[in-house]
Point group: C2
Chain length 240, copies 2
DNA sequence: GTTTTGGATATTGTATATAATATACGGATG
DNA sequence: CATCCGTATATTATATACAATATCCAAAAC
């Protein structure tokens, strides 16, 4: 097994799904914009079949929306949708943490600490915000893994990705939120280390709901400014 | 608009997804069995493309599982998975009901009562159990709709469908569970009518967790008998 | 002037054909 | 006898070709 052997076990459709997901999360593809199968196919040098299958997968993740015979558009979340997203996260994650804590080994704690350190390193080196969401998911999923709840984790990862799309907007601007999140992460891992379930779940809940409120504040101010999250206005720019 | 005009606005792939979903839910397609694209295509008289797209959608719903270059199989849920399914339902549904209750109109209550009556009618006429799950979802979704939580509802419907597959096994045999569910439904709607949030959510939680325990008991006894839910044994019958 | 209607164009949906990958089997080799 | 390897077969994955549907625009009708 040569170490560099990066055999593409994946299918083209799966690779495309990854590429398109990243584009959606980093705003390269704006919310509401139409995804033309032909254009994507020729751009990636493939046929439309794997493009369609990639889009179908992304639809399952809630990142795109399909209308039969009209096509796919990047999904648009209203402020209410975003609020629901974070409320759901809080509900699921608190439950996961509560179940995980009794089974949490020292190895898990150690891994969590190392991810928290990575956050700090990243901040020091002014690294791009690209993988903030990935790191965040790594930390959270590490803490929840001992719960042994695979289905919940799959659902939650979708929610994290959807949330990530909007968090990235905010993180580009609001360094404060970033700092707060990092310090809360450290406190959270510390509480887990002490096996203080009550305080850990309480902090986690606050952590998520505070992120929710800060994000909504950010989005509302920006929307009032001018562009941004469609606040209910049914714009028709999704189809040419 | 002629009343009988049943224009197929749907796509073939969507129709196939519906057909296959029903087959999975009613055990016509056993858990773990392989889904051969060619066979399905020729059976339905279509090409393999819409078959693949239908399977992709079902994968998003958790009803089938794909392995690249090997194919799709009907997903197999372990007892732990089923337990998780119902725990998740309880978590989400209690939250939904709590949010829905303050906004619940008399119309919603009336609709809920009518569905409860339909349950009773169905029982009297010894109707087939086919649409038990549909009715159950109608009742529950009616009660939760005022919460205005579309994303949660989509996720929950998937969970209900997955659960339905196993509940159907049980309902064929255990009339007792059926009776209990119906009486609990009536009590639940009554509590909603009185706007007794505390008792309603408590009953709902119990309702779901009792169903969970009865189902697990049923599955475990049946498994010990002989066939049934694969209790962790990694059988290899999914691919020829 | 507004609405309607027809067809031209763009785009999606499905069928057929080809390529890639996995599985099964049998024979060669030690 | 066990193991390895190559080939035949089955099945999936993708490309290309065709059909169905939607959108747009201009001309006709009122």
């Amino acid at each position: 097994m040569s170490p560099s052997a990066n055999f593409k076990r994946q299918t083209v459709a799966a690779t495309l799904a990854d590429a398109l997901r990243e584009r959606i999360l980093n705003q390269e593809l704006e919310e509401g914009s139409a995804l033309r199968q032909d254009a994507l196919a020729s751009e990636f040098g493939v046929s439309r079949i794997p493009v369609r299958e990639a889009l179908l997968q992304l639809e399952g993740e809630g990142l795109v929306v399909q209308v039969a015979h009209k096509g796919y558009t990047v999904s648009v979340l209203s402020c209410d949708d975003i609020r629901e997203l974070f409320d759901l996260r809080a509900l699921l994650e608190v439950d996961l943490l509560r179940r995980a804590l009794p089974r949490m080994t020292d190895e898990v704690i150690a891994k969590a600490w190392s991810i928290v350190e990575t956050f700090d390193d990243r901040l020091k080196h002014k690294a791009e915000e690209v993988n903030w969401g990935v790191l965040n998911w790594q930390l959270h999923s590490t803490l929840y893994a001992p719960a042994g709840r695979e289905q919940t984790m799959r659902m939650l990862q979708s929610l994290h990705r959807s949330a990530d799309r909007y968090l990235r907007m905010q993180l580009k601007i609001a360094q404060r939120s970033n700092d707060r999140a990092r310090s809360e992460h450290a406190r959270l891992v510390a509480l887990c280390e002490q096996r203080d379930g009550v305080e850990a779940t309480r902090l986690l809940n606050e952590h998520i709901l505070t992120a929710r409120d800060e994000l909504l504040d950010f989005l509302i101010t920006r929307t009032n400014g001018s562009n941004g999250v469609d606040d209910k206005s049914k714009d028709d720019r999704q189809f040419r």
